[in-house]
Symmetry: C2
Subunit: 691 residues, 2 copies
């Protein structure tokens, strides 16, 4: 009996592209979420490495799409990834079981013959992971399952191709190998050599080719694209191919000729002379083996320290900090969709361009809260400068902003947003909003005209407009423009220990006017186009209220917590509106907690009135008022028809506005019930000024 | 008839010390508030100015206390200040009326003879102001009322004292003048000259002195300390003295000798040679005048441009910016007391030392809100570092804080507070809070012991402790220590769209334990010492909940607005508690909006549970639970008796804690009604983690 030597195989080392982890992160966040089932993926290996390199199983950035980058020398490996949700699960899950499950799939592919149809199954792998997406730490462990069966022996040492084949035969072999496109798997195949002609065939043809080989000159080989570059050892993939041979063909053949093809291209010329040629003997173990009796498996990769254990890659250090911040911010939001609110549409929030009129206590807080929701496009408007009393309440300013007369609030706030999150698209606009009753002298006319035009353009360019200023009358112009341009308009106003938050009713295109309140007031709910605006409950038009105000009336004399409540509620009201199927047209319940159509984040009330001293929160809804100074059809039509001329008359005379809207007629009536129908008896003082 | 010349008087220029405006600001903020009545004040003038200087009416820093800095050469002027609340009122108030009112007071003093008793009334003035306390702009206008009566004529040009008196007489005069302390008014007096002896007498003695002057050598003068330094014109004060003479003594005398005393000290020697001596003739107008017929008055000061109009001083430029910020911050708070909450005790808020455990979304927001309320002593505790997802939600951090691995949150937050307001006494402490069920290995023992000691000291050194961390079990240790040290402990916790805010019941000194819930549950309200703590509604002791948490369970998966609501409410709950007469022992109503004893800011509920999706806010109150793992007497006594040894056993075993508290016995009962008595069925999930 000849002396036989045990054939040993060079195991794979994993090589994961950083891009893969980024794609994997996206998949986890957006698709997998808490799912920890196995997900198919693709790997690749090559037989064209320079001698000295270990055999590597590559995982490319697009491995999860299972489309490999086409490459002449790239062979397909079939894998799957199992991701755990916690580091504890990653640690504690039985590695033996995981490997056995992977091996079982492989065994099934081998015994059923599926691996003959798709030989890439023979190069199978498992990627077991825990992704700490907050730190960009990826813990992972590869397994390349293989069986301790059969014991592969050889009687003579492996030959190089140059020893076994003539140059002509090698050249013929390479020509055939290179011409195989998708006809047979590049990783596993059969080879015939007849005379000096060599040819590559699909693996499944091996038995028929060998059976047909009557010609003593004709030889049939099992072939692999060999990832190994070692002089005497083939790569790990051969191991599973020989298991397949043992399982499928042991009845006919115990011995096989194997060609481990390695091809290096130098100066455009392919050289395969260092390929290995083996004569192997699989023994007679296979005879007694049943498909149901899977032999023991092995295959966990060792880590960098040569130990059995996982590896970790920390990608945060290599990433652009700005991008890191962006991903981190998105992460927090996407996590909402994992469990609590799967229907949440983050995209619509992300895309909503928000205009904040007023950059005081409310403006700053709302800007921050919107940013927390993922809003990226934010414009802040204010004409004031940061004063020393501001930073303790207005959370985008610091002491530095107050010095030397103070920076413009809008500019300082927009810059602060960028310092918080560099990906913000934030802008600060220093602008005075003209107001009814604040008479415009000739000298100011040009400036006011420009201011109105600037405000019109700003409202045009945004989707949602927040009225966060400190006087009633400054809300008038943006209320009118917002209604005319059919924008979503939201208001927040502070009292000493109370607040008002409200979404203005949407005025429908074409009609230019709400339904008159008197005609058809719904009983249980009010549709969005019939809801009132900030001025709908008022029986006097806004006028100059800043005149003659004492210090405590000029300042934000309010319990600091009140602005938190108002800012939180008005931001959430926008988001809830965006998540409602009817958006700004969402109906509002007339009763507290009445049954109305809800969005992903619940019903959207018309207004919220909070009373901190009594810990009360009410949600009154009221219909639009047909003589409202802010949104009635008379006013909107006058604005649409006359434009600035109309506005100027209003700036110069509140009485004119009352005449246009019809409020003056109302004043002549004794009975003033109509305007309070559907309205609320709750009044929130609005003397806050955030200078 | 001799040729007569009209005597003209040098008017006052006002000279206001900047310190006055600061005192005035304090008075306005703390005392006057909206009161716009006249307030008495004092001014002064001197007769010791170097020739060339205009006569000045000084208003010193303490002018409102009406105590002048004692000075040999300082004469008293009686004034009042009228402050308006708005710039419009300052502009529009009739200056004619104001002057007339001032002049009427003066006229009354002159005609009634009061001015003889208190001649400083003759140097009267009005200060009319508008103080823009937000900008430190002070608009002001002085009036020095005087009458266009009588027409004062003189027949020979004024002489200097050196021309009229011998050196001996001057010396005698000065000796007498210097020896007058408070016996007569330094501004207005009588003088007798007899031989070479001169003497100063009270003004009221003038008629008797003059009547008694039989001796032809003996001369009687009206005297003033003359603020003027002009060679031929006396100061404005003489004008009113001569009006007095005309009104009081015109029956007897039309002519008077007047000595306008001016004294310069050079090298310690007084020189009065440049004083003026006048012979005046008051004419006979006075004969027909009635006290009820006040003659026309004048006296508004011209401004810097020589026009009739107010002056403005901008003190902000001269002030230390840090002080400016401090005043501005106080201003906003003090304004609350003007109208809406006069009983508010700002001092107690200012002095309350707050310890914030957790520097995440809640910690940052609460710190800012406390700062808005005037809290100055703030310590933040956290063991984490700022990560990229933090700044958009945690409002004390910026992108910079995340880079290079991130700064320690507690340190970055404390620094941010100083950047917002340099007067903060803020500190950041990097500290891990040991938790029940988080087993302590031998290697960590020393560190944990130090951490416990550090936490104990921190709680000892503060008045209010906020539990703002992200896991249930991390609240256990500070709950126990806070109860043992009888501190005010407040909790805030976030769910996805809900929150819990709660004040822990105060454990009374000595008893070390709440009343057992079963003995005496009040029907309508629960006294503060019987209120439950965060753990009182739980039937299992806190254990390791951070183990095996998925990513969405680790992170703050919460609607961003929720943290605003919780932070606002927990801060306001502290402030409302501090403003309650019973402080932490304030009773809480069991019914929503039930009748209980209220503080300045209303009733203080035991807890607030908010549900953003439904826009609900509940105020459940519940009694302490006598087997509570956080505050029952068994636990507090074990902690007090055994200290760290007890804590260590709890860290290593949640079961041990359940044994000590008696919770384990409860688990054996089928009936578990006792612990929910008085409690609430509302449950807020608390899986928020703000890493």
């Amino acid at each position: 009996m000849e002396e036989q030597t045990l054939l040993q195989f060079a195991p794979f080392s994993s090589a994961v592209d950083a891009g893969f982890w980024h794609h994997f992160t996206q998949l986890k966040l957006d698709v997998l979420q808490l799912n920890d089932q196995a997900v198919p993926m693709a790997g690749s290996f090559t037989n064209s490495d320079t001698p000295g390199l270990p055999p590597r199983l590559h995982v490319e950035y697009n491995a999860l799409e299972r489309r490999q980058v086409p490459s002449s020398w790239s062979c397909h490996a079939t894998g799957k990834v199992i991701n755990t949700n916690t580091i504890e699960e990653f640690r504690n899950r039985s590695k033996q079981d995981l490997l056995r499950e992977s091996a079982a799939s492989l065994w099934e592919a081998i015994t059923s013959g599926r691996a003959l149809e798709d030989p890439s199954l023979l190069a199978s792998f498992l990627l077991f992971t825990f992704a700490d997406l907050k730190k960009y730490h990826y813990y992972y462990w590869f397994a390349f399952p293989a069986f301790t069966f059969p014991k592969v022996m050889y009687t003579k040492p492996p030959q190089t191709l140059s020893e076994a084949f003539t140059p002509k035969e090698v050249s013929s072999l390479l020509t055939s190998y290179m011409s195989q496109e998708t006809e047979c798997d590049r990783g596993f195949f059969s080879i015939t050599k007849c005379g000096e002609e060599c040819a590559i065939h699909p693996l499944r043809d091996y038995p028929s080719l060998r059976t047909a080989a009557k010609d003593p000159d004709r030889e049939v080989y099992l072939g692999i694209s060999d990832p190994s570059t070692l002089p005497s050892n083939p790569g790990w993939t051969l191991r599973n191919l020989l298991t397949l041979a043992a399982v499928q063909w042991s009845q006919q053949w115990r011995s096989h000729k194997v060609l481990c093809l390695r091809v290096i291209t130098r100066s455009g010329v392919q050289n395969a002379m260092h390929s290995l040629v083996l004569d192997v003997d699989l023994g007679d173990e296979a005879d007694s083996l049943l498909p149901s009796e899977m032999p023991p498996s092995l295959g966990w990769e060792k880590n960098e320290r040569g130990k059995m254990g996982p590896r970790m890659v920390n990608l945060s250090a290599n990433m652009d900090p700005t991008k890191l911040a962006e991903s981190a911010v998105d992460l927090n939001l996407k996590l909402m969709r994992w469990r609590v609110a799967p229907q949440l549409d983050l995209g619509i929030i992300h895309r909503t361009r928000c205009l904040l009129l007023g950059s005081g206590t409310l403006g700053c807080a709302v800007a921050r809260c919107l940013m927390g929701w993922g809003v990226r496009h934010l414009t802040l408007v204010d004409n004031g400068k940061v004063s020393y009393s501001n930073p303790v309440r207005q959370n985008l300013y610091t002491f530095k902003d107050c010095q030397n007369g103070g920076r413009y609030k809008a500019v300082a706030a927009a810059e602060a947003l960028l310092e918080i999150f560099p990906k913000m698209n934030s802008k600060g606009v220093v602008l005075s909003i003209p107001m009814p009753g604040h008479t415009i002298g000739e000298s100011l006319l040009k400036q006011v005209k420009e201011d109105v035009a600037a405000l019109e353009q700003l409202i045009e360019e945004h989707d949602a407009v927040f009225l966060l200023m400190d006087s009633r009358e400054s809300r008038w112009l943006p209320t009118v423009i917002g209604a005319a341009k059919e924008k979503l308009v939201l208001t927040a106003a502070l009292g000493f220990d109370s607040f008002l938050v409200m979404r203005h009713g949407m005025r429908q295109a074409g009609t230019g006017s709400p339904q008159p309140a008197s005609t058809a007031i719904p009983r249980d709910s009010i549709p969005g186009h019939m809801l009132g605006c900030y001025f709908c409950n008022d029986v006097v038009a806004p006028g100059n209220s800043t005149h003659d105000r004492t210090l405590d009336q000029q300042c934000t004399v309010t319990r600091p917590g009140v602005s938190y409540l108002a800012a939180g509620h008005v931001t959430e009201m926008l988001v809830a509106t965006l998540q409602h199927p009817d958006k700004g047209f969402a109906e509002a319940s007339v009763q507290e907690h009445g049954g109305v159509k809800e969005g992903v984040l619940g019903p959207v009330p018309h207004s919220l009135r909070g009373f901190l001293g009594r810990h009360q929160l009410l949600t009154p809804a009221s219909t639009a008022f047909d003589q409202c100074s802010g949104c009635c059809s008379q006013v909107l039509n006058a604005y649409k028809d006359e434009g600035f001329e109309f506005l100027l008359k209003v700036f110069n005379s509140t009485a004119y506005l009352e005449e246009v809207s019809g409020l003056n007629k109302l004043h002549q009536c004794v009975c003033m019930t109509s305007q309070s129908e559907g309205g609320s008896s709750v009044v929130v003082s609005n003397n806050g000024k955030s200078k």
